[in-house]
Subunit: 345 residues, 2 copies
């Protein structure tokens, strides 16, 4: 059906190790889908270097061009030379918001061959469904009397029934294809307005999915369970900030964010979805050629699955699994890992 | 100097296991300080039962009476029969705010004899200094069109230079007595208003403490380090919500929140400070007599230290350490652990 369909992929390597791992994601995509799809890559020079060079973060014409693509491969964004927030809010979050990527999908799986920092990790395999377009990430807030002893700074979390319900539905649909359990994570004992709304919507949508069980954890309790009982989770459903926090902790628990990919998904395909490793630009190891490209390669698999190429995606996943099982504990350069995984696809 | 000074201690056992562990905290206090101080205990019937009985959460006369005490011993608050947020916001947070307990002090230490869920925990010994009277906890926010598809719910984080600076100073003072390192944890790449203010105030106050080094972690990165490199931390300084999250994760990492106590401190002694285990009311194990009273007993030590009885506090700490080293892995009832620790004080 999809045989040799043409797709345009926006490629945004970004900063630091983003530039080192993204080429491997692109090669994996290319090889895995060679006999079913043809990709046309459009590189975008966005990130710290562009910003430092000409002050541009995400020019309108770039955003418009990106909107016309079928999907986006992103590396990582952030650079110590640029004040915190400028690139994150101006580029990464702007893309997530402008492209209405309301599902931030982040699978966590402990691969055979990876050493978890946990003594008894057991079988870890869950997915975090993080809301991507609301909450504390919407940039509402401000400061008065800045720099004085009377400064007041605010941050506003905005949550809508519209925005919550669509991501809740996505989580229940996903649970139907998995172990049929959804855990809502919030802090409804303190954030009573937003938390109450999330819970009501989960209860309501949950009624439409009688086969799916659902429960609730406070964010603080969830951070405990991730460490001492991660097997309990199947689908974790949560807001933008809590999802950010939980997925990094989850990445650590499965042996490092080097094995965790993520999709920023516009599930109604009105705009392209974006696929990225969950790790950052890692300025401390950038330029050394030692960043692990596995998460970036896994994000290529997520991209393929999103476009409907399940078999091609599965080929990448299998190659990664086999690579980690055999060589996961060997110290290898970025290119060595890339080549090893590519050879197995 | 403090010989046999009289102190009035408000005792609020609260809900669930709070009622089971608080008597042991009280006994530990009594025994450890027997020859230096005399305590007069004023019990307060506050929590779910009181609320379900007469609808009262924290009557004004109780709050006024509590204000006149020298310190507060609290168990835990929360009950599944009461809607999330009612007791937490109406009682626990109301106390923290009304008594201006701006430092929420939460030490994390891996005791010899406790099994951490980490494979190689190393030497974990840090303190989280969590701001206690601002941020997302101030109850600002609301909802419109509740229950409809057009509902909008907000939560507002309010942060002031006044509120931040005083807790930052506390953290640097504390670091001077420890390993002289402060790590600010925030999410300044997204929460740019509040995060920027926190960082500026840390930089400014830091200049007054040239011996103390300080660095910064995003909250998401901090959750990773807690799992794969907790030894790096000495004093973690953070806001109300991030502190809530980090200290529960930290509790898990040191083998369970059963070993973690906390102080809600009004560091200028305008109002009484409050000492509590960081665990909750644990309805699932309440009434079974199996809750571990260690954290509650440790909170009694924090209370003593706050009142200036360092030696008495050290006696409790030593008794707990010895108990855990010898019997930490033995299954014991609440009363057995309580008696065992008491015997060593
Ligand atoms: C870089 C940052 C803005 C981003 C986020 O907070 O969402 C990152 O941590 C992530 O999780 O993708
Ligand atoms: C019960 C709850 C309101 C409280 C908090 O969030 O502060 C608790 O989790 C804590 O950490 O003391």
């Amino acid at each position: 059906m999809n045989e040799h369909k043409q797709y345009t992929i926006a490629v945004i390597p970004g900063d630091g190790i983003g530039k080192e791992v993204t080429p491997w994601a692109q090669q994996a995509l290319e090889k895995a889908a060679a006999d079913v799809a043809a990709f046309n890559y459009v590189p975008f020079d966005l990130g710290a270097e562009r910003y430092l060079r000409d002050g541009e973060i995400l020019p309108d014409e770039d955003l418009e061009a990106i909107k016309k693509t079928d999907a986006i491969l992103l590396g990582a964004v952030g650079d110590p030379r640029v004040k915190a927030g400028v690139l994150e809010r101006g580029l990464l979050l702007k893309l997530r918001f402008a492209l209405d990527q309301y599902v931030n999908l982040r699978p966590s799986k402990l691969y055979q061959g990876v050493t978890s920092p946990l003594a008894e990790p057991g079988d870890i395999d869950f997915v975090v469904v993080r809301e991507g377009t609301e909450g504390l990430y919407c940039g509402a807030g401000g400061a008065i009397r800045k720099g004085t002893e009377h400064e007041v700074a605010t941050e506003v979390s905005i949550n809508t029934a519209y925005g919550v319900e669509r991501v809740v539905r996505y989580a229940f649909e996903l649970a139907m294809k998995r172990r049929k359990h959804v855990t809502l994570v919030h802090k409804k004992n303190v954030l009573v307005n937003a938390g109450d709304m999330w819970q009501r919507i989960v209860d309501k949508v949950g009624e439409e999915y009688p086969e799916v069980t659902h429960d609730y954890n406070h964010i603080d309790a969830a951070t405990i369970y991730l460490v001492n009982d991660p097997q309990r989770f199947d689908v974790i459903l949560t807001d933008n900030l809590f999802g950010d926090i939980l997925t990094d902790e989850a990445g650590a628990v499965v042996g490092g964010v080097g094995y965790s990919a993520s999709g920023c998904i516009n599930a109604i395909d009105e705009y392209p979805s974006m696929f990225e490793p969950i790790h950052g630009s890692a300025p401390d190891i950038a330029g050394k050629g030692i960043a692990n490209p596995t998460a970036a390669i896994l994000s290529a698999a997520m991209l393929l699955r999103h476009l409907g190429f399940d078999d091609a995606a599965a080929r990448i996943d299998a190659a990664v699994e086999a690579d980690i099982a055999e060589l996961g504990s060997t110290a290898r350069s970025t290119d060595e890992v890339g080549r090893d995984i590519l050879a197995r696809i």
